[in-house]
Amino acid sequence: MMNKAFAVTLDPATSLENHTGSWRTLRPENVFKLPPCNKQCPAGENIQQWLYYAAEGNYEMAWRFLTENNPFPACMGRVCYHTCEGKCNRGFLDEAVGINSVERFLGDYAIEHKLSFKRPAKDTGKKVLIIGAGPGGLSAAYHLRRFGHSVHVLEAGAEPGGMMRYGIPVYRLPRNILDAEIARITDMGVTIECNHKVEDIEAEKKKGGYDAVIITTGAGISSNVDIPEGDTNHILNALNVLGEIETKGNIEIARRVAVYGGGNTAVDVARSLRRLGAEPIIVYRRNRDKMPANEEEMDAAIAEGIQVKWLSTITGATKESLKIEKMKLDESGYPQPTGEYEELPADAVVLAIGQNVDKSILDKLQGLKVERDAIVIDPETNETSVPGVFAAGDVASAKDRTVTLAIGMGKNTARSIHAYLRGVKYKKQPKNEDARFEDMHPWYYTDAPKTVRPELELARRTNTFDEVQYGLTEENAIYEARRCLSCGNCMECDNCYGVCPDNAIRKLGAGKGYEFNYDYCKGCGVCAQECPCGHIHMVPEKI
Amino acid sequence: MLQVRLHGRGGQGAVTTAEMLSLAAFLEGRFAQAFPSFGSERTGAPVVAYARIDEKNEIRTHEPIQAPDVVLVQDRTLLAVVDVFSGIHPSGYAIINTTEKPEDVVPELCKQLPPGHVLTVPATDFAVQAMKMNKPGAPMLASLAAATDILKLESVQQSFQTRYPGKVGDANAEAAALAYNFLKEAIKGGK
């Protein structure tokens, strides 16, 4: 040991005695914010979280986190209209993250690697009946089974899947994919009984000794409009057309077909018919801007050669043509008749102007409130006006009817029933505050445009039902996952740990994040300022 | 103790001459001291250097020499500007670097000092002859040796050869020998 001079010479790191944390007036804290993608996802997926693992190449972990909320990643990766991407903060920087593609990659990865869901550790002994094996019903079944309840699903159709099977064309969702993801649910012990149309809900419940029931019968009846027609012109409905294509693989229909409507179903029908050799023309009463159909789907339809007759209503039909009235949009965007007419040569009309709920079985359930084509449910619990009876999916949602929403409702209903079965009233978890782009530090992210999914060349697409969109390669999937900004949540970039002038942040090791060392943190706020994700808040100290 | 004062001009090596004088004495086993008049004089300016020699005792004093036993004038032009013989001992020696005779250069001094104590020697000529340089130090010291027997010629030569090993030292030694012989001849002739 050296003979050190008094005071002039000091031992190393003796400053640790000086707890500079007492200087602090502001205190950094980690905040877990709600990324816009998560917020937007109708299925309530924690997208940022599973992208985090996907970015690391830990696909199974990513898939496990994804399926915490949604058991159909392979399906959703194909058919979800991914409104999440529209809200993605990366869109402010360059282009939104291709969330949907990564989801599909993970779904396909799980199928390819035969990943399965874990069966519940123990059974609760409670029984739940689910009426309808569509996305809502199967989602609820999955989640209830995870809770350990015993679940039985009754399905009127020949095969489970609901609209995923009978409403979405094969070129968008190959059936082996759907089958694989449904099989994974039944592998957990969920039982599905097909070709069983429930007539009396109360009776079924009593007969099976169920503790709760979920109605997920969907909205399977196409809406009708009154088109004055000569007896020769074919007028068909969209769901029947799609259903027939699904079950028979073909449909007998004329060459020139008018598809009437502007929603996704109209587009699905038109694109399906195009593959069967027809020349469909979409007739829609408003313009492209007002069209509810998914933009990408519509782009694809136009690219495949499908014609559109904008601002038109069908006022009459004869054997070979339709009488069309031209419309104009008023100030509030509603179409108004102009009194101008024209002829449109067409051999048939497919109505795709909406779907309705089959009320026949609902009417029989005493006390069930149904309003405006949907069962009335408590928005918190998804419970109907009949105690112990819950509803989810299209049958309980008049306004927004998508597969994704149905899956989300199914999950929520399952959670609600799980509470109900324990005699507790379910309350949705409060949402974290929004992760806003303004609170982030975009400078840190490198510029990287969205990977465009390779598409089947157009010529092939118009005459086969092969899947139009290929999935991402692994390389692309990682790349895309790594484009995630990790809004409002830590991605372990070490910025806070690095930029602290006082070394007052401890790094806990890979995957463990960081902790503030309040003994030394002076509360300067550099960590919060330089956190790319906006994951740190400065909170006033109590003084 | 013998005290010697040397007058020269910057660049002619007066300080070195004093040092060589002390070194020569040291080589002969005596105590000696040499020091310059200290300053920032540049080439051409009048320079004074001092030397002391003692047979037995350590030389303690560090005062400049005010009453020299010997005055060596390395540059005769100084005679007009500096009182080079100031304080010279009544029986002291003066040696002046010039080709002229003492009586012609310093007639007053010749009267003041004992006969034969004022000597002239063409030291520069010998220096240039042997070294091609106006460094009259070695011939001057050799003249002192010839005139007084204070030093041996060999000691003078050895001192320069010690300071400047090789050609330069040898050339100095040669110039010293020329001066020594010249003055010995002159003294002989004078007597």
Partner: protein, 416 residues
């Protein structure tokens, strides 16, 4: 031991080289140049091994490099003078505050302006309070020996040492010097073992900021070291003298002090001149003692008191003074002699290279014996002709021939 007829600067360079310094830094200033020039040659020629020689860009850098190298745990040497010492002054204080045993030669020289390159003691004495030991040399032999002792003293005490030798008078004097052999020096001065130094093996922080809470205590401990050096100087001197047989160093040295009622106190190269004069006076039946003050810092109060004994008069021959005050040595001597009846005064002489002759010493002695030192402070070697050539016209006053006592200088203010 070897004996050589060499310049004082070369002797010092050889002495330093014998001490095997690890770092020598040099910035040229007259009259110190020859010392570092020679050391540079030794290093470059390989005669002095394991030594880094740095040509620095200023004296401030020289002392700073020395601080760095000394803190880096190697024996360190530099040299300066005059303006150079002042230019490095800030670092001079830093070196002592950090307790770094640097040895530095001050080839003493006057301080400008007006610029003056010749010898006096105003440079070294200006650093009186710098926390360095200041040892004065009376001859080149003393300088050679004191440098070697200085390293040992510095390293034992843990403070830097300034070896003050008169510029030109000693540095440029060509004299017979006895140089100890390398074996002798090695036996005397062991391999340098720093008490604290910078190394990654034991990281420490040297040079902290010390506030009011401990600064006084830091200074007290520094003073304690300085006080301890009195004994160290004596011990080291004794040891060195035994090994080499030289009579150098020490806190002070007395000459002809027995039974001398008048004693002179002198620092530096005039001591030898004074000794010769004292011998001459003795031959005339005048008995004068001489105290050569070797250690100015630490000031050897006790040793000085003992050396003065019961003399009735002490004259300090000083080569620097304090503006607005008086001599610099005299007040210290008075402190040492407090309680005695000895009269102490200053004879200021030898400023800016004005030579101190034997006759000057003689004059001072006569002046003292005649009881003419009426004030504490007297301008002794005034050239009245030069002074009056200006004052006669400019100030309308003239000075009488001879020394000017302080009161006489003050009186001219009334006359004017």
């Amino acid at each position: 031991m070897s004996t050589e007829q060499i310049e004082g600067s070369l002797g010092v360079a050889k002495a330093v080289s014998l001490c095997k310094p690890g770092v020598v830094c040099a910035y040229p200033i007259s009259p110190q140049t020859h010392i570092v020039e020679n050391l540079g040659k030794f290093v470059k020629s390989g005669a002095l091994k394991h030594c880094e020689y740095l040509n620095v860009e200023s004296e401030f850098a020289a002392m700073s490099v020395a601080i760095g190298s000394s803190a880096g745990g190697v024996r360190t040497y530099t040299a300066t003078a005059s303006q150079g010492l002042l230019f490095m002054a800030e670092a001079v204080y830093s070196a002592s505050g950090l307790g770094l045993p640097i040895v530095m030669t001050v080839a003493s020289r006057a301080i400008g302006g007006p610029i003056n390159i010749w010898n006096d003691h105003s440079d070294s004495l200006s650093q009186r309070d710098s926390g360095w030991l200041q040892l004065f040399c009376e001859s080149n032999q003393d300088a050679v020996d004191t440098h070697i002792m200085a390293f040992k003293i510095a390293e034992k005490v843990g403070l830097p040492v300034m070896v003050c030798m008169d510029g030109f008078v000693l540095t440029h004097a060509f004299e017979r010097l006895n140089l100890p052999s390398q074996e002798q020096v090695d036996a005397f001065l062991p391999k340098y073992e720093p008490r604290e130094f910078l190394t990654p093996k034991e990281p420490i922080s040297i040079g902290s900021m010390v506030g009011p809470e401990a600064f006084t205590e830091v200074r007290l401990l520094q003073q304690r070291k300085m006080l301890s050096s009195l004994q160290v100087i004596e011990d080291v001197t004794k040891e060195y003298r035994e090994i080499t047989g030289q009579h150098s160093g020490g806190l002070l040295d007395c000459y002809n002090c027995e039974n001398a009622d008048l004693k002179l106190i002198i620092l530096g190269s005039s001591v030898g001149t004074a000794k010769d004069e004292i011998d001459r006076l003795k031959a005339q039946g005048i008995n004068v003692g001489l105290i050569s003050l070797k250690a100015y810092r630490p000031f050897p109060y006790a040793a000085l008191k003992a050396a003065v004994g019961n003399s009735s008069q002490v004259v300090c021959v000083e080569r620097a003074f304090s503006f607005g005050a008086r001599g610099i040595i005299c007040p210290e001597v008075k402190r040492a002699l407090e309680g005695t009846s000895t009269k102490v005064c200053t004879a200021l002489a030898g400023l800016g290279g004005r030579a101190i002759y034997g006759s000057t010493i003689n004059g001072i002695v006569k002046h003292a014996l005649d009881g003419k030192f009426k004030d504490e402070f007297t301008w002794f070697d005034i050239d009245t002709k030069v002074l009056n050539s200006y004052t006669r016209n400019a100030l309308g006053i003239t000075f009488p021939e001879g020394p000017i006592a302080e009161s006489e200088l003050e009186a001219t203010l009334l006359r004017a």
